[in-house]
């Protein structure tokens, strides 16, 4: 059944203007603000222009509904996100009180905002200069979704989507799925990204940055210009909008995403994934291609993108369907692009007017479509916005004009203001069909089960880390991906870093463990989560800059440094062409990954989902840990990747029982609510995702319930819940002590912000 999310607020900040009215005025006036980078320089022979945002120095943070305690610790990406979110909330009539009392979630796409790319810090770290860890603390405090959640005092789900250039579009699709699943009533959704020297050098060396202002779909196009900004929409259920008396601007009527399973940076030559994503979004919205009044294209201006995207759009939509690329005014804002373009698409739908695609002059017969050459009046009731990304991700949204006036619903708002806890349960069941793990306890579930049963010694390597207090030895639970050549030819491994190998091996092992032949690979989705992303390659890219200069930044390392590299390489290696998503929300990552898998299965976007959770070790992480009450806390870095082949219950032989619920708890009484949920299980595994490792309200836990903390086996990481889930599934299956005779197990974690996540596992048939 189709589901429409109401759009009740829009906010946008980018080079074209600091709020949406100014942005639209610039678009319709044909004003382009493309200039050399303002905040950094590069030692290159050519200056590649970018779209700098006019956001002022102190980010105007103090008007936010809740005060920002340390404005200097706010990243530009967070500030951009906050600016757009505030504008969107104001239009939607969401004041500080409503934000704090309604069930409001936040889902944002980003790329720079989730990447630890402080060059000065890393240079000093490499030289053993013992740099202050403020940049790392800043990074940890500025995960875009978690930042907005804290800054606005929200009490709903929070997830940051790191799907490279389709992140913003995917974040809106994800937000709509939350509303559909009833996880919250309102979501702030979109994307945010700041300009940074790191991706600037990356795109220059991929030879897709243009030395002149970009020309989308033009015969003489020479590449993209990077940009920065944020675009945020307030989405809510129709009931919530009616209850609040909010004016509905438009609807998010459809969403589709599909992976090319083709190449880490190049789009599929026939745009295979994009075609499927468009089909799936149109089907979801229940409308025909002919009903699409205009398309806001990805239109980056790179030779390849515009050719392939143009051909797909030309083939799927009636001739004469207007196409615009607003990147001509914003630049390519990476993780923000999908959010900004969604906002501009809705506003154009309201204005019934499209701006000219600036920079476009001459049609390219190779592209099959011609974008708007001048401002164009339109009669559109529906519009489509599409995004293509590194890793072969394609994501598509369909927007529809609101059908008509509603009368204000006079019911009392269903707020949670009087309740001290917000509970979000995704209660639909998932069957665990296969598990693959790679950790300090070896590769595969057999070795994990054996090690837990025999109390085996994990593989621990000690890293001597130079700190201001001298050398500190940091024990690291180390995972070694062995035997990958059993699944893949050696040649295809050559460019893959350790993190990707961990993910690939866990994935292959999970599929092998299930004993299933993957039938229709277009019906298999991939959703991965990581706290820190590919740290090794992130720093390897910076190494090439530090060692050989700006002219020698490695494009291969840059392409490998994106957070979605493991998911997309897995999609390529296993030929999985269904939806593909990567989430990165520190300790909250596992919750989002499982919710996403559950939503895809329930909504029928996929028949099987490969869900993966993992993080790799890097000495920078150990260096940071030694500065953060390392001796006092039990947090020990662990390298791990766990993968799960998940399906709908009852459809296949269920090897490991079911994930019965994903509980997420926020608020002052989250501890008591968590204890109540845990009491319904035979035992609990305390997850070690944060420095609160294994410290889940010991006083609240029922004394007759077994509670175990496995972090002494595989260490701690933001995604440790995945390993705990694997251990729990094995315990339900073979009942090894201390969890023997269990029919229901909980994996529970307590986050730094006091919220809790509890995943319930039950034996097949048990309740």
């Amino acid at each position: 059944m189709s589901f429409a999310a109401a759009v009740t607020g829009l906010g946008c900040i980018c080079a074209a203007g600091e709020n949406l009215p100014r942005v639209m005025a610039a678009l319709y006036a044909g004003e382009r603000r493309c200039a050399p980078p303002r905040d950094f320089t590069a030692e290159l022979d050519t200056v590649y222009p970018v779209f700098n945002c006019g956001l002022n120095e102190n980010y105007e943070l103090f008007n936010s509904p809740t005060a920002i305690r340390h404005p200097q610790s706010v990243t530009r990406t967070s500030a951009l996100a906050l600016a757009a979110a505030r504008e969107a909330c104001a239009q939607a009539g969401l004041d500080g009180e409503q934000l704090a009392t309604l069930r409001v979630g936040v889902c944002l796409g980003t790329t720079v905002g989730c990447t630890l790319n402080d060059e000065v810090f890393y240079r000093n770290f490499k030289q053993g200069a013992g740099p202050a860890i403020a940049p790392i603390q800043r990074y940890l405090a500025n995960n875009p979704a978690l930042f907005l959640k804290q800054a606005l005092g929200l009490r709903g789900p929070a997830a940051t989507v790191a799907n490279a250039c389709s992140s913003g579009t995917d974040a809106i699709g994800q937000a709509r799925a939350w509303l559909r699943a009833g996880l919250c009533d309102v979501v702030l959704a979109g994307g945010a990204d700041e300009l940074s020297r790191i991706p600037y050098l990356g795109f220059v060396h991929l030879l897709i940055a243009s030395p002149e202002p970009c020309r989308p779909f033009d015969r003489a196009r020479r590449g993209l210009n990077l940009g920065e900004g944020a675009g945020v929409l307030v989405l809510e259920t129709a009931e919530s909008a009616a209850r609040r008396g909010a004016c509905v601007l438009a609807e998010v009527a459809g969403y589709g995403c599909a992976n090319d399973a083709w190449h880490p940076t190049a789009p599929h030559p026939e745009g295979k994934g994009l075609r499927r994503a468009i089909d799936s979004a149109l089907r979801d919205a229940g409308i025909e291609p002919g009903a699409i009044g205009f398309i806001n294209a990805h239109g980056t201006s790179t030779p390849d993108n515009d050719k392939i995207e143009g051909r797909v759009l030309g083939a799927l939509f009636p001739a004469g369907t207007p196409v615009v690329s607003t990147k001509a005014y914003t630049g390519h804002t990476l993780g923000a692009a999908g959010g900004i373009e969604a906002v501009l698409t809705v506003q154009a739908l309201l204005d019934q007017r499209l701006p000219a695609t600036a920079g476009f002059a001459e049609s390219d017969p190779d592209c099959a479509i011609t974008p708007t050459a001048r401002n164009t009046e339109i009669e559109a009731t529906a519009a489509l916005s599409d995004s293509l990304a590194f890793g072969g991700n394609n994501a598509v949204l369909v927007f529809r004009k609101d059908k008509g006036q509603r009368t204000k619903d006079e019911q009392d708002p269903k707020d949670i203001g009087k309740s001290s806890v917000s509970v979000r349960d995704a209660a639909s069941t998932m069957a665990i069909l296969g598990i693959g793990t790679v950790s300090a306890l070896g590769c595969g579930v057999a070795s994990l089960a054996e090690a837990l049963r025999r109390n085996a010694q994990p593989a621990i390597q000690t890293h001597a880390i130079q700190t201001a207090r001298g050398l500190v030895n940091v024990p690291v639970f180390t995972a070694t991906p062995e035997g990958l050549d059993r699944f893949m030819p050696k040649r295809s491994l050559r460019r893959l870093d350790k993190f990707v190998r961990l993910a690939l091996l866990a994935s292959f092992l999970a599929v092998e463990d299930s004993g299933l032949e993957l039938p229709d690979r277009a019906r298999v989705g991939v959703v991965f989560g990581t706290g820190y992303g590919p740290l090794g390659t992130t720093f390897e890219f910076q190494d090439t800059i530090i060692n050989d200069g700006d002219k020698c930044a490695s494009p291969t390392a840059f392409a490998g440094s994106v957070h979605n590299a493991p998911a997309s390489q897995t999609a390529i290696a296993l030929g999985l062409e269904g939806p593909c998503q990567t989430l990165t929300t520190f300790g909250h990552t596992a919750e989002g990954v499982l919710q996403t898998a559950e939503a895809w299965l329930r909504e029928g976007l996929a028949d099987l989902v490969l869900a993966g959770l993992g993080d790799e070790f890097h000495p920078v992480g150990a260096y940071a840990a030694t500065h953060m009450d390392f001796e006092q806390c039990s947090w020990r870095p662990g390298e791990m990747f766990s993968a799960f082949l998940l399906g709908r219950p009852g459809e296949r032989e269920e090897k490991y029982g079911n994930i019965a619920a994903i509980h997420a708890l926020d608020g002052a009484d989250a501890g008591h609510a968590a204890a109540d949920i845990i009491a319904r299980h035979d035992a609990v595994i305390l997850s070690a995702s944060s420095r609160r490792a294994g410290r889940l309200d010991a006083d609240l836990l029922p004394s007759d319930r077994t509670a175990v903390d496995y972090s002494s086996f595989y260490g701690c990481s933001p995604t440790a819940l995945g390993m705990d889930l694997a251990a729990a599934a094995l315990a339900l299956q073979d009942g090894a002590p201390p969890l023997s005779a269990s029919a229901a197990l909980a994996c529970a974690e307590c986050h730094e912000d006091g919220s809790r996540t509890i995943v319930s596992l039950i034996k097949d048939g048990a309740q």
């Binding site: 030879l207 190449h263 002219k551 930044a553 490695s554 494009p555």
Partner: protein, 85 residues
């Protein structure tokens, strides 16, 4: 060592093509597709490697397409540019 041989060894080691030795590669072998089997991401990496090892700048994919037609073409491009410098 000839420039051709040097290039083969550099490509094999830098692009981590562990299943080939320089001796197995012919001067006339195309770098992409049928020949060494490189792809578009290797192409941009190779642009950088030529910059790093030979201080020769290949500005865009048009130039790259010609220079990367074969080992021979690449060696000739480098010699021609070095002669100009």
């Amino acid at each position: 060592m000839s420039l051709e041989h040097e290039l083969k060894a550099m490509i094999i080691s830098e692009l981590k093509i562990e299943d080939l030795t320089p001796e197995e590669v012919k001067d006339s072998d195309p770098l992409f597709g049928e020949g060494l089997g490189l792809d578009s991401l290797d192409a941009v990496e190779l642009v950088l490697l030529i910059q790093k090892h030979y201080k020769i700048e290949i500005k865009d994919m048009e130039e790259a397409r010609l220079a990367f037609a074969s080992i021979q073409a690449l060696a000739d491009t480098i010699r021609a540019r070095q002669a100009l410098a």
